[in-house]
Every structure is written in structure tokens, then in C-alpha cells.
Amino acid sequence: MSLPPNKLPTGPIQQAWTERKFSMKLVNPANRRKYTVIVVGSGLAGASAAATLGELGYNVHCFCFQDTPRRAHSIAAQGGINAAKNYQNDGDSVYRLFYDTVKGGDFRSREANVYRLSEVSVNIIDQAVAQGVPFAREYGGLLANRSFGGAQVSRTFYARGQTGQQLLLGAYSALERQIARGTVTMHPRTEMLDLVVVDGRARGITVRDLESGKVSSYVADAVALGTGGYANVFYLSTNAKGCNVTATWRAHKRGAYFANPCFTQIHPTCIPVAGSYQSKLTLMSESLRNDGRVWVPKDPEDCGKHPSEIAEGDRDYYLERKYPSFGNLSPRDIASRAAKEACDDGRGVGPSVEGVRRGVYLDFADAVKRLGKPAVSEKYGNLFEMYQRITGEDPYEVPMRMYPAPHYTMGGLWVDYQLQSTIPGLFVIGEANFSDHGANRLGASALMQGLADGYFVLPFTLADYLAGMKPGGLDSTHAAFKDAEREVAQRTNTLLNIKGKRTVDSFHRELGLMMWDTCGMARTDEGLSATLKRIPELREEFWKNVTISGSGAELNQSLEKAGRVADFLEFAEVMCLDARTRAESCGGHFRTEFQDQGEAQRNDAEYTHASAWEYTGAGNAPNLHKEPLTFTYVKPVTRSYK
């Protein structure tokens, strides 16, 4: 099947969304309760969508695998949320936010989607404040802003270091209000394990109750996935342990195309791995680079020494050396790659894990000298405490150690402008879709996109879809549901009956390390080809030799993990394939072969498109569909930070 039309608006971009909203069909208020909508995921996108659809009067069912919707991983976002309010009178506008986001995405996103995102960003702040989200304020009582991620304007709204939690609690409280009103039925501890498609339309999902193990189905008139990203394909990432690709991958196997899976974001300032037992990585706010100086020893012989024994002249402040104009504030992708190069060069610091020291210093000694300890403490005190709690080291005495870690995934299921996937009736929102960030996401834009989709885009586009169809007419006795339930149950039984020798985590760690080495910060044709050969072997071993205790009829966390790792083992292949096929460097995708004196070399002539992959059956190569991208308003230029 060729790629369906992307339904992008024509005409001036400034009026496009307003006009589209007017031209879309509506559902009569009295009829809305007759339509059932399933929302999977309860993060910023899922919770805001479920709450808003409930308010409108649809019959909503919302699912999450956690014990309560408030725990979705959006909760962990620290930095902030962008909005083009221009409260600081510093020249910001919807157009500027749009421009920055298209450029920041390295010209691999859709202009119309990004413009809409920028446009509704201002409504998100209004909505959140009305819900009681306690954003930072000035003494005059008005909202405070800060500049974030190298932006030249202060457009980021924040709530101390926990903007994600506060925005999610806003959406969660709106969701709980609808649950109390009976418009939304919440299904916590319930994992979606398949999408059910009937007559070419998404009509429901098959789920497993994680406490009882019961497999069942829910029927709906439309399904929306807000199930987040896939950074845990790397095993070690800043994502929560439960984050997974299962919902989107299983939808992919039912016909939804997966777009740009190789576009991943590696965050430069995370606490390095301490040992082989490491279970996840912790992000430290990017703001630390405002005052900290990044360095490694010039001589690999010095790497084992205490940093205080390394003389000033023997230190390599490599970001300041390579990028004199941006220095320590170089963008995320550039700072991350430079840290990797230094460590690959044998000049990393900190404990050696499996023979390599992977860490660089982030030193506040100069800042303490210049500003004094109280000023440094006021700005970064809570981050220093967090660092000390994890590492046992005091950043006032010893430089912090940092290393990049996978953090966010720009790729996701392909959607048109209406947020509908290639399966009619399947909508995809938030990090789970691919549409707004291109090849690189700007800081403080993830929260914005999740809430934009859930509060202000999906409720309109979903109505347009539902208005064109009659509600109901189907129940879960339909063969498609019974087949899906049988397949899910069989898969569970197969997993439990392998009774091999290796734990699920050991497979996940091996896959993750391989992906990190060859499909992480720097990728080569050779490395990707080797991994593409190795993944099917590892997958085969998994299905022969994994061990999972317990049964399927109880709370079984190993079984849950096994299902997710099995999907990562399939997904990793299309991710590597996408990375190998895209023979250019752009944003977070750096192909070592395509660089100009160390800088990413984009190839606009051949790769100004989104890559959408179609599943063609187990063991078959997926089909690639290209959606050309056009830039009418923001002309592609080369990013330079030297």
C-alpha cells in the first residue's frame, strides 16, 4: 500500500489550522456518548486527550500499565515547556517558535505541523494555569520564563525542576474529574498487547490485566495511542524502566507505518554508568552547562588520577577548543558526540566499566571562584544534591562526571496532519508519533507537543473521523478479537514454556549495548550491517533460551518485561535499517561517513523526506515509503556552531 495522503493544508500557513478546524466535521453533542474511544497511555498526551474527549461527552476508555495514570513517564521531565507568549517582550512570536523548531529539527519535519504546534502552545499555558499548575512566578505575581536549550528568547515556562510532574498532575486531575463523572473508564495495570483491525479500520485493542493475567478485548470506534517513545531499545536510557515500544510495534505489525525510527536524541549530561549492574541512567539538567566547564585529560595516562592532581595545562577543554563561539553551550547532539570521541580516544574519566572509562568532567571550580559558592548553590544546589545522592561525590569538591545517554525518540508511527496513522481510526499522539521534531528535538518541546496533541488537536481531528461513521455495530465476539486474544495468549504461553537459561534482562542488556555501539551517537554502514546480522541471531536465541519464572495467571513482572524485550528485538532491526538507509547526517542521526571536518553533513538533494516503513511479515524486509518534505517558509541552511 502506498503512503496515504498526508492531508497537509494548502494556503498560508498562518491560517491553515483555523481553516482546517472550520472545515472539519463535528459530532452532535447528543450523539457523542454513542461513540467509544480508546486512549492507550496516560502521560501528557494520553491523559490530556482522554480528559478532553471525556469533557466533550465521548465514551472513553483509558489504559495504562502503571498502577495509576499519574506515574506515566512524562512525570520525570525536568526543564520546562515552551510557549510563544512573548511575555518577556524579547521578540518571540508564534512564527519565531515555528522557525526555531523547524531549524532545530534540522529540516526533517513538516512545516505545517510545526506551525500548528507553535500556534497552540499559548493555549496550553492558559489551560495549565486554569487547572492550578503551579508554574514559577515573579514577585509581581506574573509567570516567570527562562531561556532554555540555547534559544535566544525566554519562552520556557517551568515549575522548579519538575515541570513534567506538575503538567501531568494537571492533566491527571482533569482525567480523574472525568472518571468521577463517568465519561472516562480507567484501566490501570492493563497492558495493550494487540491492535484489532476490522474491515480496514482500527476497532479495538487486546489487553492483558497485569494482576490477574486475564487476556481480553475492548471494542471502540477509534483508538488513540499515546504510548511514548522507544529509547529503552538501548536498555540504558533516561526513560523509566517500563517505557516500551510494544503498543506502537504491535500496531505497526497490524499495518501502521513506522516513520524515521533512526531519529533518536542523546542527552549530553547524564550521570555515567557505575557498574555492569546499572539499571538506568539519570539525566542532569542541561542548565549545568551554563556555568560548568567540560574537560578531559590531554594524556590518557592521567585518566586514573584524581582530577585535582591534573594540572590546568594538562586538561583539554575540548568544547571550548573545538567550538569557540558556543563552547560548553554547544547543542545537544554536538556536545554528546564530542564526549564520545574523547572517551573513544581513551581519555574518559571515572570508574572503568568493562574496560572503558566513559565519563567527562563538568567542572564548577571556575564558577565557584567567579560567583562564589552561595551563588552557585542557589542556581544548582538541588542538582548537586541529586548528583551526590547517586554518586557519593560532592560537586563543590570534585568535578561532576557526565556522559551522554539516550533520552527521547523523534521517530514514531507515521501520522497525517490529522494525527491519523496509515490505519483509519488509529490515531497517534505525543512522543509515539513522528511528526513535529524532525531529526532533533529542542529542549522544552516534548511537553508542548504531548499536550498540544491531546488537548488541542486530537479532539478536533477525531471528531472529523467519527462524524463520518456510524457508532458501534461490533462486539468482542467478532472473529478478529477472538483471533487477537488467542494470539496474545499463545505468545504468553510460548514465552513461559521456553524455560531456558538466560534472563530477560541479559538479552535486553546485550541488545542495548549493541544498539548503543552501532546505532547510538555515531553510526556507520559497516557497524549497522553487522548489527543487522546479529539481531536475528539474538532474537532466535531469545525465543530458545530465555527463562521466565511463574505463570501467566498472576502478577508476573518478568513476563511483562519479556514481551517488551521480544518487541524491542524486532523493532531494533527496522531502526538499524532506517539508519543505514539514510546515508546522510542530520540532527541526532550522525553517520560517520557523512561529515565535513567533524560536522554533520546533510544531503538535502536525496534525503529531504520522512521515511515510513511498512511491515511485510515476519522475516521479510519492510517496504520503505518516502514522504517528501517541502520548505516554503524556512529555507534549509547548514547549522554551524564554530
Binding site: 487547572q131 522548579r160 486531575s173 557498574g275 539525566l283 545522592r389 547517586i390
Partner: protein, 256 residues
């Protein structure tokens, strides 16, 4: 380091539980507490036994999933720290530890160290929101909010819903949780129209769920990983009294 663990094992809600001993001989002081359990679980599982079930997700101290008792202290010995952020350097070589799930009638044990905390969601459903539909919001800066009110509201809003307050309270009271939710909204101008009805309904729901009452032990504040203050409980009580005794007829009813 070598740790001796006694872990509560319980197969399901209605099963009988018991402590089981585990020896952890190779613990690194740099491991988090949960990483120690990960390593133990991998060993238990490769020996064909069921791994210890415990709740966790973000492992950054913000999602509120994790939490159990370590030697009688919710989240263990380090103040202001969830168990996922607790590192083994807080213990001594050879320590013997007792791991138990949160104990409260309103938090039934699901399995091992996992409990059911959906009672918290139902307390929020009773009124822990501001009734504003998407799209109906006024311009965000139209109503300035005093910075001290906004800051106090934030201090309460920092609650991560982990349930340590309930677990540590001799009465298994959810007062600190409920009071934090109330203070977050009641201290803001947006929260005023529903302040009294919210206070009444959430306190009543807390009772319905089977949580105990507050008798000012303050153990909740001591173990709260986010340092939520017990002064919020005083505010909750004031709001409840105003709602039930001093105000009639009641104003500001909600839409449900």
C-alpha cells in the same frame, strides 16, 4: 559488601505471606537499593524461583511507584530519598535488613512488596481538581498570583503519591497526602470556588477508603521523600470544619 535480606513474600492478595531470607554476597556500595534487588532477582530467576515483585519505574524519585519498608522505615534510612535513589553506601557490610510492603488496610498487598494504592486516585476523584474544561481557560497572566501563595502551593504539589506517609503513620492515615492535594489547589485563586466542597469531599473519601485519622505523630512528614509539611494537615482540618460546620448553605458545588 554482604547484605542479609529478609523479604516479605506473598503470592497474591489473599495468600498468606512470610519473610524469606536471602544472602547477597557481592553488593557494591555504588548500587542503588533496587539494583541490588535486580541482581538478586536475576539470581533467583536463574535458579528457577519466582523473583521478588516490587514496584518501580522512573528510578529518579519522581514517579512515586517505588517504596517499601526497610527495617521499619518507609523508603529506608536516608531522609528525603525514595528507595530507588537510596544507595548501598547508606548501609554497612553485614547489615541485616527486613523488607516489607506498605502496611495499611486501604493498601491491600497485591504481591510481595507491591500494594494497591488506587485509593489515592479515588480521593483525587472526590474533588482533587479544578473544574475547568479544555478551551475555557482565560489568558494565563490575566490574574497575577502572589509569589508566596504560588510557592506554598508548589511545596504541597510536590507530592509524588508514593504512600510512604500512610505506611509510616501508626493510624495508617492518608492525611498528609490528602492535605497536600488540598493545599496545592486551595492556596491558589483558581481553587477558591470549589475550596469548601473539595475539602469536605476529599476528607470524607479518605474515611470511606479505610484510612485512619491523624493524631499528630508527624511520622509522615519525617519519611516524606518530598518533605511535605504537616502544616498542610492543619489547613485541611480548617477547610473541613469550615465546610461542614460553619458554612450553610454550601456554595460552590461541582458539576458531578
Amino acid at each position: 559488601m554482604r547484605m542479609k535480606l529478609n523479604v516479605w513474600r506473598q503470592n497474591g492478595r489473599d495468600a498468606k505471606g512470610a519473610f524469606q531470607k536471602y544472602d547477597c554476597p557481592d553488593v557494591s556500595e555504588h548500587m542503588s537499593f533496587l539494583e541490588m534487588l535486580d541482581v538478586l532477582n536475576e539470581r533467583i530467576e536463574s535458579e528457577g524461583q519466582d523473583p521478588i515483585a516490587f514496584e518501580h519505574d522512573c528510578r529518579e524519585g519522581i514517579c512515586g511507584s517505588c517504596g517499601f519498608m526497610i527495617n521499619g522505615a518507609a523508603h529506608g534510612p536516608q531522609p528525603r530519598t525514595t528507595v530507588c535513589q537510596l544507595h548501598m553506601r547508606s548501609f554497612k557490610d553485614g547489615d541485616e535488613l527486613w523488607l516489607e510492603p506498605w502496611r495499611a488496610k486501604a493498601f491491600p498487598v497485591v504481591r510481595d512488596l507491591v500494594v494497591d494504592r488506587t485509593a489515592f486516585d479515588r480521593i483525587v476523584q472526590a474533588g482533587g481538581y479544578i473544574s475547568t474544561n479544555t478551551g475555557s481557560a482565560p489568558e494565563a497572566n490575566a490574574a497575577p498570583i502572589r509569589k508566596d501563595s504560588a510557592d506554598k502551593s508548589f511545596d504541597a504539589a510536590a507530592c509524588i503519591g508514593c504512600g510512604a506517609c500512610v505506611a509510616m503513620c501508626p493510624n495508617a492515615s492518608a492525611s498528609l497526602f490528602t492535605a497536600a492535594k488540598l493545599a496545592h489547589l486551595n492556596l491558589l485563586p483558581q481553587g477558591q470556588p470549589e475550596r469548601l466542597i473539595r475539602s469536605e469531599k476529599m476528607v470524607v473519601q479518605m474515611d470511606v477508603e479505610g484510612f485512619g485519622h491523624c493524631t499528630n505523630h508527624s511520622d509522615c512528614e519525617a519519611v516524606c521523600p518530598k518533605g511535605i509539611s504537616v502544616t498542610n494537615i492543619a489547613m485541611m482540618n480548617l477547610g473541613y470544619v469550615q465546610a461542614t460546620l460553619l458554612s450553610s448553605p454550601r456554595e460552590g458545588s461541582t458539576d458531578d
